[in-house]
Amino acid sequence: MGQAYSTIAFDPAKCDGCGKCMTACASVKFDSTDTTRSLIQIVRSGGARIEPPRPGEFELALCRQCADPKCVTVCPAGALGKNGTTGVIDWDASKCVDCLLCTIGCTYAGIALDEHSGRVSKCDTCEGKPACVPACPTGALRHITTARIYNEVGSWEDLFAPGLAGCQGCNTELLMRHALRRVGPDTVLATPPGCVPGMGSVGFNGTTGTKVPVFHPLLTNTASMLAGVKRQYERVGRKVTAMAIAGDGGASDVGFQSLSGAAERGERILFMVVDNEGYMNTGMQRSSCTPYGAWTSTTPIGAHGRGKTQDAKNLPMIMVNHRCEYVATASTAYMEDLYEKLDKALAASERGFAYLHVYSPCTTGWRFQSALNIEVARKAVESNFVTLWEYTPEAGLHFTRPVDKPLPVADYLKAMGRFRHLSPEQVEHIQNKVAENLRFVRKIAEQADEQ
């Protein structure tokens, strides 16, 4: 398994060109107030000459700590090299002969001449604590440390069989492998009919697709069967995690009775819902989680049909109303957030019912290019089409990724084919629904704040 690394991310939409990152860098690296010496350079873009400058007019020149670093390949002195532990391209001042060839090799202006010292200089990410990031007042710079998760998880055992029969670009494999790696080998897994068994959790040709005991309950009885299995293990004194990975159809429609019952009884299980907003595995029929206006094979587009005519059920909020031990929503576009929630859900499932609802775009059923899954997932959050939060009975509900300036929901809808037919009125309906949903969840969050 390869190594993943932390990185500094830049959001041009948030940068207002204040230059505080450059001040911080020049000061930390050279004890200087001269921002031209900073290793991070904010440059005005597009020849914009509007005063005062506005966000969106700035670009970044900063070493990207390339995986395929051209600066390294052209250095004749062996002075540059990728550090296998940190991922940083290290510069060895004692080997460098100041030939400047690296500035020819790099096409990103990531290594440049520092005219004061006459030597090249480049960002070294301040030994993993970049000084520029906390200096940024707008949040345009972020230090992304998600890599830690991949490295850590990569060293745990993969409990799914290699190779899965999922659609190209589906993020459910990511979810299944990560979640199972995290909960570990002492797990009994329930995967009711849906994409997860379709991908192979229940196996092929008489062998299971997982390295833990897995069973295939009916859509209707997943939570009750799993509760029984867990109780039996408790009775014989064995500590196991009882986990379900179910689709939204299996959880919010036919499986809802057993889910609600198990939650109400406080069964000690971890119930993860992979919400792709429909019965995708069986040919993309609508479910109660399918949003208004969406095309599915049972809400077709034609002379009369304009997609689904009802709004989606907000299943995670319904679970909050069961006062479960833990309820959270998550997205694969925000893995750090998802991981924190998975950890908390796992811990909560020792005490009572833990419910994790993961929004999971479906390349095939939602009709977008297979490379865009994470992008679509991110837009769903950025437009507030879905919101990321967590709930415990003690602390109440809190947003974990509040969105200050949401994208218009149309930006999200445009990212996929299932909404292509929408009329302006339908888009407006959805935008209003987004606002209403947000108001509703916010109210509950505010109540928690008042406590």
């Binding site: 350079q41 440059v43 005005r44 873009s45 597009g46 020849g47 670009e59 970044l60 020149a61 051209k70 390949t73 052209v74 004749p76 002195a77 062996g78 080997k95 002969v97 100041d98 030939c99 400047l100 060839l101 500035t103 020819i104 090799g105 790099c106 096409t107 990103y108 202006a109 440049a112 001449l113 005219e115 006459g118």
Partner: protein, 418 residues
């Protein structure tokens, strides 16, 4: 007979990049490297710094034995290629043995040209291309009082500066009217010349050496105007050319170098070539040119390796671009692209005598950058090269670009290939 999937001749930049590219796509195919040099891989470009003492022979190696073990590369130094039979997929080595290959890369670089000056075979002279050359030159430099550098290209000029700093009296003899021609324009060359003169070097441009005689100290040069110059250290640095002797009888097409297409494939089946020995498409001319520079050697080596491993990610060569950086007496000079003004295009020049900053930029008739040259004016050469290769229309930005090539280049970069 030893056989191998990939046979690579040469162990420098082009060869090393090819190994990386092959291993990126093919983790198992056997790789054998045969190289004439007795050492581990190093760069000829670092040698001037070995001569000056800035670096040392032990510290210049680009790969260690672990690299070859980890990448499963059979590395054979002191083992030169001597002949080829492409039809039989066999290579003959200098020691008479034969290696069978599935695919072959010729990355044997170039060697210094030794001009046919009458008497040259009777005098002791230096060249600078290998680590052993550098060690020998460094030793000779310590004792030299009267050095002559033949050829005012970058290799010669760099060596001349080292000799000046080591305390020798140095004369640079150059056939053409200008120093560093082909790299820098007249103004930049004039600045370089002033710096050398100011530091006590003598410069004899526009002169040819017509004879060499051994003397008690070393040699005496005779110039075409009859002048004689005595010397105790003669460095010949008039340019390089690939040694292609091992191709005799192989039928592989050559001109000034080994002719290759845009995937570095030669005229023979399963034989590729990259680096200083290859003659590949020039970006401006579209015809095969020699572009013997390090960045191009790495790029061509990468392409050749990908082609040999049949990596589907291969993007064909866009053509070679001249790219050079050069330091002289504390100043730096950078040249990117072509100095010639294309038809209908224009050159813009600014010079600030006080700071010694000089900038020349060349644009074609469509306001696209074709070359940029600076002395003491830093810009990101890699970004400039991309602007040229992408044929970026600078249009309304041209004036600002010329005033601030660093900032404007970065701005364009962020928009075009961030």
């Amino acid at each position: 007979m030893h056989t191998t999937d990939y046979l690579i001749a040469g162990s420098s930049h082009a060869a090393l990049e090819a190994i990386n590219a092959i291993r990126m796509h093919d983790g198992d195919g056997s790789i054998t490297v045969v190289t004439r040099d007795p050492h581990r891989p190093y760069s000829p470009t670092v040698l001037p710094y070995v001569v000056s003492g800035r670096s040392t022979p032990e510290r210049v190696f680009l790969r260690d034995d672990d690299f070859f073990t980890a990448n499963k590369v059979d590395y054979r130094s002191g083992c030169a290629l001597a002949g080829l039979d492409p039809a039989a997929h066999q290579a003959r080595l200098a020691d008479g043995s034969t290696i069978g290959y599935r695919k072959l890369l010729l990355a044997t670089g170039a060697s210094p040209i030794v001009p046919p000056i009458p008497g040259i075979e009777r005098v002791d002279y230096h060249v600078l291309r290998t680590l052993d050359d550098a060690t020998r030159l460094r030793a000779a430099m310590a004792a030299s009082k009267n050095a002559v550098v033949l050829g005012a290209g970058l290799v010669g000029m760099h060596a001349a500066e080292n000799l000046v700093k080591a305390g020798a009296s140095v004369t640079i003899v150059e056939m053409s009217k200008q120093l560093t021609s082909g790299y820098f324009d007249e103004v930049a060359a004039g600045m370089i010349e002033q710096a050398f003169l100011g530091n006590g070097a003598k410069i004899r441009t526009g002169h040819r050496v017509v004879g060499l005689e051994p003397s008690a100290d070393g040699a005496t040069l005779k110039l075409d105007n009859g002048d004689t110059i005595p010397t105790d250290l003669l460095l010949v640095a008039v340019g390089v050319r690939p040694e292609l002797g091992y191709l005799d009888g192989s039928g592989i097409a050559t001109e000034r170098g080994i002719l290759v297409d845009d995937t570095m494939r030669t005229s023979a089946e399963d034989v590729w070539s990259a680096g200083d020995c290859a003659q590949a498409r020039g970006f401006f001319t579209g015809t095969p040119v020699m572009n013997a520079i390090l960045p191009d050697a790495t790029l061509q080596g990468r392409i050749a390796g990908m082609a040999m491993a049949e990596d589907p990610g291969l993007k064909p060569y866009a053509g070679g671009l001249p790219l050079n950086t050069y330091h002289f007496f504390g100043r730096h000079a950078i040249s990117v692209g072509s100095a010639a003004v294309p038809e209908g295009g224009r050159a813009q020049v600014r010079f600030d005598a006080a700071s010694g900053r000089y900038l020349r930029a060349v644009f074609d008739r469509d306001e696209r950058l074709t070359g940029i040259f600076g002395v003491n004016e830093f810009f990101d050469a890699g970004v400039m090269a991309q602007l040229i290769l992408r044929r970026t229309d600078l249009g309304p930005l041209r004036e600002r670009f010329f005033a601030q090539p660093l900032a404007t280049g970065r701005e364009l970069m962020s928009q075009l290939w961030r």
